[in-house]
Symmetry: C2
DNA sequence: TTAGGTGCAAACAATTTGCCGTGTT
DNA sequence: AACACGGCAAATTGTTTGCACCTAA
């Protein structure tokens, strides 16, 4: 289980660290390809995923699209265990946040706020080791 | 351009509306298949995407994963035009939000806050029609 | 009648995995 | 030497699209 040192992994980590644009696996691959001509895309995926599991990297968003019939902006909750998404009706969308963000000099049209944790069902199933 | 009434589209909309779990295209398909045996997955994708474009449905997250070497929770901004993601260093992560959400009876481990709008470059390129 | 909608299957795109030789410990 | 790692390509999965037919208006 113990992982070993790996030249590629360190390069991949550095690439994500240096490029501030939250790159996709593909972007990392193309950036490293010139200096590591034998690098393969599969390795990039494997290492990104591994480092994300360990918490060395953060992963933004997932690979599948989900839809919501509630148009009015609102707050979501996603269970880390089962992936279910719930609405948090009690936690209203706060437009004041958008105005705060505009202070950064950006044109803000809205925001998405998603809480992470364990849903009641998964929290119940968790039994202490 | 004007769209017509479509039985399938209404069923698909209803399916998203009735299932409160923010379903994926696949989930919608499987839920409707029994009552609409000739329904095809392509149609589900087409209609979900169309309704999302029109604003009749909201789409959560995109299909490609991105990575961030900054582990410490922080706030993001995504440009609606070019898709670029920026860090909003001036808008710190607010742990108080998590405590508020716990009032809903959930175990909260964190949250993600992503603002949407136009980045400076895309805002500059926008010329009035 | 006319343009949009649908099923179906093929095309694409994003991501994962098996196999087997290589590198770290 | 043992076992994690990396390259490569095939396999999976998620999503889009071309085409011929069907249907609302």
């Amino acid at each position: 289980m113990a992982q070993r040192f790996s030249h590629q992994r360190e390069r991949i980590y550095q690439a994500v660290l240096e490029s501030r644009d939250h790159p996709t696996a593909e972007m990392v691959y193309h950036r490293l390809k010139p200096e590591l001509p034998r690098l393969s895309l599969g390795t990039v995926y494997r290492n990104l995923q591994q480092m994300a599991r360990e918490g060395r990297l953060a992963e933004l968003a997932g690979p599948v699209a989900r839809f919501d019939a509630v148009i009015r902006p609102h707050t979501h909750f996603q269970c880390a265990a089962c992936g279910a998404i719930l609405d948090l009706a009690d936690l209203p969308y706060d437009p004041a946040l958008d105005r705060t963000a505009e202070a950064c000099g950006l044109t803000i049209t809205g925001h998405s706020l998603v809480f992470t944790g364990l849903c009641p069902r998964c929290a119940g199933e968790k039994q202490p080791a």
